[in-house]
């Protein structure tokens, strides 16, 4: 192959050290990068119940997940102000599985008058997926008036996507 004329290296130890030091420095830089990025951007992922119990109220950056109550959606197309209410769903996957899957959990939570609720405010284009029984994942902070100011909306409609049982089944 194309052996270079300098293939015989007089100071192999020195070379290895140089690369080792470079590697360690780079690793340290990456760790530093990750840590500093994490510091400013970590978000507490809370359920509606946890938020209602006062957890994360003073936090500027919170993520909360719940089920959208369709009747509560109000939208002002002039100002693009959007308000709606979400109800508590468990944050734990095992609890969701025990409740019969996400679609069932969402459905039941939207009908349960006892479930903790949270009013949400958002300004922007109303997402197509925002409707009754959709799972909403909101990023933002609690306002002083007890309304959650959402910066970002993420919506999922698992019931639509993978209906467990057909509604109009006829024998």
């Amino acid at each position: 192959m194309n052996k270079s004329p300098r293939a015989v290296e007089p100071h192999p130890r020195f070379k290895i050290n140089k690369f080792a030091i470079g590697g360690v420095l780079l690793l340290a830089a990456v760790v530093l990068l990750v840590v500093t990025s994490l510091k400013g951007n970590a978000q507490y992922y809370l359920t509606v119940e946890e938020l209602a119990s006062g957890k994360g109220v003073n936090n500027a950056n919170v993520r909360v997940s719940g089920v959208v109550l369709g009747d509560t959606i109000q939208y002002d197309p002039q100002t693009l102000d959007l308000t709606f209410t979400i109800a508590h769903i468990p944050g734990d996957n095992r609890e969701i599985e025990a409740g019969g899957g996400l679609a069932n959990v969402l459905h039941n939570a939207s009908l349960d008058p006892q479930a903790a609720r949270l009013k949400v405010r958002y300004n922007g284009v109303m997402p197509d997926l925002l409707k009754n029984e959709a799972q909403a994942i909101l990023t933002g902070a609690m306002g002083d008036d007890g309304v959650f100011n959402a910066e970002e909306l993420l919506l999922k409609c698992p019931s639509r996507y993978e209906a467990e049982v057909p509604a109009q089944a006829v024998p």
Partner: protein, 679 residues
Amino acid sequence: MIGGIGYGGLVIALVTTLTAVITSLCGGRSRSAALIETARRAALITFPVLSLSILALLYLLASGRFEYSYVYQTTDLSMPLYLKLAALWGGQEGSLLFWCWLLAGFTFSVVARRWKTEVDLLPWVIAATSFTLLFFIILVLFFENPFSRYFITLDGIIKRAFFPPAMSILAKPTDGAGLNPLLRHFGMIIHPPALYLGFTGFVIPFAFAFAALVSGRTDDHWLKITRKWSLLAWLFLSLGLVLGSRWAYDVLGWGGYWGWDPVEISALMPWLTGTAYLHSAITQEKRRLFQHWNIALIVLTFCLVILGTFLTRSGMLSSVHAFSQSAIGPAFFVFIILMFSISFGLLLHRWSALRSENQIHSVFSRESAFLFNNLLFTALLLICLTGVLFPIFSELLTGQKVTVGPPFYESATAPLFGLLLLLMAIVPLTMWGVSTSRNLGRHLWKSALAALAVPLIVFLAGVRNWFALLAVWLVTLAIFTTVLDTYRTVTLRASNRQEPVRQAFGTLVRRFSRRYGGYLIHIGVALMALGIIGIEFFQTTTQGMLAAGETLSLSGYTFTYEKLEVTDNADGRNSARASVMIKRDNRELKRVFPGSDTYYVSQQSVTLPGVRSTLVDDLYVILVDWQPISSEGATFKIYRNPLINWLWIGSGVLVFGTLVALWPTTRRKNIPRTHQEEK
């Protein structure tokens, strides 16, 4: 009946794959040619058998057999045929079956090739691919069966099963639930198959690496055979990522192209290690370096492919990609751990046999640049892994789930992407083996200075964002040095051989197709970076409610709302379309029709942006709201996305470059093939 054929195909495929696994392992150990031949045939027959299952499912989807739960869940009567067929990968069960079929296809074509000197790898290649396939067939058959039907028992409970439960009758819904309208987009129709082709394609180089480790053939053979496979897999994976991005841009309605969503990241991670592998594999071929690292990378890519399939399919992460929670999570977890430990165990076992014969002599050589490239991609992978796993670990350690969003990824990865651009700019100036700082610096500083011209123009045009200027400089530099190196080589050859420049260029590209394909890919990436710089740094937006005839203005453009039409369509949609005239300096540029479709059956609406797209910017108009009866007022949100088109153009260049690199290299006939292959 048809469902029975599909199910039967799966059962037979289970048997043949199991046979392939057992006979290849035994044949490999005992070196029995007969057993290996049995394994080979079993692996070959699996593909046609699984094709039968796929055809059966396609038939069921096309003919609207809604008693099959998968058909019910993903199609309805009003859908056109091509969408019904595309529903094959519209849900969990179908896409897992599709995954199996693709892997079986890849296995088929790799096993069917002519095996010559490397025949000792064959049994272990079959073992690795078949074992992976076996795992997925078991998943499909026992946990996610696409051929299960609905039955109603006497007490009125509806059950899903393939075989009728006791005392039950078949339930046949009259219409299906239909594919989510948001997925009815060209990009979304070919995005999953492209991604899956990429995913399954990487199983093949992994299988060869695995075979090399088990058989002790630890020379470069496995790497050379799988060179094209890895590149092909990488091509599809890249294509899948870009198509998903394009879908988000067109459909999700906020003009975004990448959201650092966990599912996006889980598809990006194997791409990162795959890209690193493509580079380090070249280094091993050219300089016999990084032998351990290459095997580690391809094993990691394989594990990330499985992890990616798992994360998208298990519902473990919160994501816009809504998939049902599923019981298959633990199975995936065990499989990944198993493959990971076996592969790394073997790697340790063969550690000394894989020793590099060479080492890097200069920090400024090309192999050193490739090393930096690998470090950067590994660092990007670490960032992605941190972000994806952070919620899980924080919950385990503190009991409180803490997540990270796009700002984390953006701030952590941006410097590394910048360094990658810089590296792309430097690499054409480096040489294999020896290179000194002076040599490199002499070439670099002139280019660096010349490339300053573009950010200077941008600066004079009024841009004062230093990060944006830096990014523009890096993009310019990367393209500049790449083009310059090509130009120098071509003119040198042309003058040495008294050839026309065009002919010299043609010959060089044909003979060094990988190199120039690679250059094209780099230019594509730099252009994509330009698009990202445009939308990330310079996006502007406005919104407002307009009466007919009123106007909004944004960055020198005006948008006049003319009228609104609401129509009912035969395919179950209610469409609203506004017409908006875009003008600049009172000159009419284009009339766009932003609107919204509401699907009656699913009550799902889809926003359809009106876009005027040029090389300079995209004007992206969204109809937010309107008054249904009178056409008095409508609310619009408008984005101006500068340079975004370069993201798609760059992607096209990247795909073309990969095809060039895949093109068979022409060799001069009088030179024998490399010594390694004669051995």
